[in-house]
């Protein structure tokens, strides 16, 4: 469903991405600075690859040979930013309504109410983002993305701004939300436990180059081979940069 094969010259290395996925939750796993966020930004159309092709279903989002480069507004891509990027001057409801702009003005209100109910945000409707907790912000950001009805979800380190305790509390809900989504999702992460508990397929990215995707069990075996098992949990506990 999502096919991406592109290159982009960055300061320290060249990003070489090859992603081909049909459905489910896919993870791009790699260290900080490996080019994970840049990959998502290229798919979303926020950044422009030097050459290559990006297709979503039968729509071409980007094709350097044919000079196609759809703006982010036309890509049908939902992007969950690391710090959630909620609009600070709008209320929770305003933020969600901002994702509903393709609907006629009259329908937005009812749809926003519906989404707030679904994401348990009704009581927070008139709050500004600055008053929300990390988990609440994440729900608002997700509701806002679902409001725009994307075909693919791009999740950029969705738990990096939350503390470990809260993270494990949120993951089951997060997983449920992603599984209810009809399209596919790509989650960028440097946390092994996060990847293992949420994703079905994993592709490791190193210095900007993606390795072929493997199933989650193969990924776990690969990690255990590289790192002794007892170090695995220790490593992920201390890793919260």
């Amino acid at each position: 469903m999502l096919y991406a094969d592109f290159e982009k010259q960055l300061d320290l290395f060249t990003l070489k991405v090859h992603i081909d996925l049909d459905s489910g939750i896919y993870s791009l796993f790699g260290a900080s600075g490996a080019g994970k966020s840049m990959t998502l930004k290229c798919i979303a159309g926020i950044e422009k690859p030097d050459r290559g092709i990006i297709r979503l279903g039968d729509r071409v989002l980007f094709d350097s040979d044919r000079r196609i480069d759809l703006p982010p507004q036309k890509r049908g891509v939902g992007y969950l930013f690391q710090e959630y990027a909620l609009f600070p001057d709008m209320t929770v409801k305003g933020n969600i309504k901002a994702g509903l702009h393709r609907l006629p003005r009259k329908e937005r209100n009812a749809k926003a109410d519906e989404l707030m109910k679904e994401f348990r945000l009704t009581s927070l409707a008139d709050q500004k983002p600055i008053r929300l907790s990390g988990g609440e912000k994440q729900r608002v950001a997700l509701a806002r993305i679902f409001a725009s009805e994307p075909e693919v979800l791009l999740l950029d380190e969705p738990f990096s701004s939350l503390d470990t305790f809260l993270k494990w509390e949120l993951i089951p809900y997060f997983k449920e939300t992603l599984q209810s989504f009809s399209g596919c999702s790509i989650m960028v992460s440097h946390d092994i436990d996060e990847v293992v508990s949420l994703c079905g397929m994993v592709s490791v990215i190193q210095s900007g180059v993606t390795e072929p995707a493997v199933g989650i069990d193969a990924f776990r075996a690969m990690i255990e081979e590289k790192l002794p098992a007892k170090n695995l949990s220790k490593e992920s506990d201390t890793k919260n940069d």
Binding site: P71, R75, Y79, F81, F87, D89, H101, A147, S148
Partner: protein
Amino acid sequence: MDLYPLLNSLRIAAISAVIVFFIGIAAAYYIAKCPRIVKGVLDVILTLPLVLPPTVVGYLLLLVLGPKRVIGSFFLESFNVKLTMQWWSAIFAVSVIVLPLMYRTARGAFENFDENLASAGRTLGLSNTYIFWRIRIPACKQGIIAGVVLSFARALGEYGATSMIAGYTPGKTATVSTAVYNLWRIGNDELALKWVLINIAISAVVLLCINLIEKPYGRRSK
């Protein structure tokens, strides 16, 4: 006491503040996107009026707007409008002098803007116009409001370029600042002092407003 200079100063300052609001914001937004060299050059040009003596700005303006100069003669011949020595001629002078204040404060505010907010808006399908007016400007409103008020305050006090391009005609082009000079020159110290006090009072109130605007937001963001 004839209050015309006060009225004239206020309207010149208000109109100029509105003009530089739009030009300053547009300049700050588009110049930030320019290639580095173009950016450097435009930045210097737009900031120059801040450091040049106002008389130099007035001279340069007369060089293009004067009745015998390019633009001035064009307007005189085509529309029979003289661009200098009108009350609104001062708007040209004041706007040029004040633009750097608005431009630089707006630029500072834009530089602190989190670009991810704009990117988020775009992936949600929002138009660039909507993102600009409903997300970027509100997020930068504190700096922008400060810029407008500061521009207004500075506009009220402009003397040099105004006196060159609009002159001093009582009841026509007189402003508070030109009135003070001309009243002092003819020895009417008493009236000059009144205008001085009025000027100080207004400027103090405006600066007080800036402080009141900045404080609550400053506290909230930290």
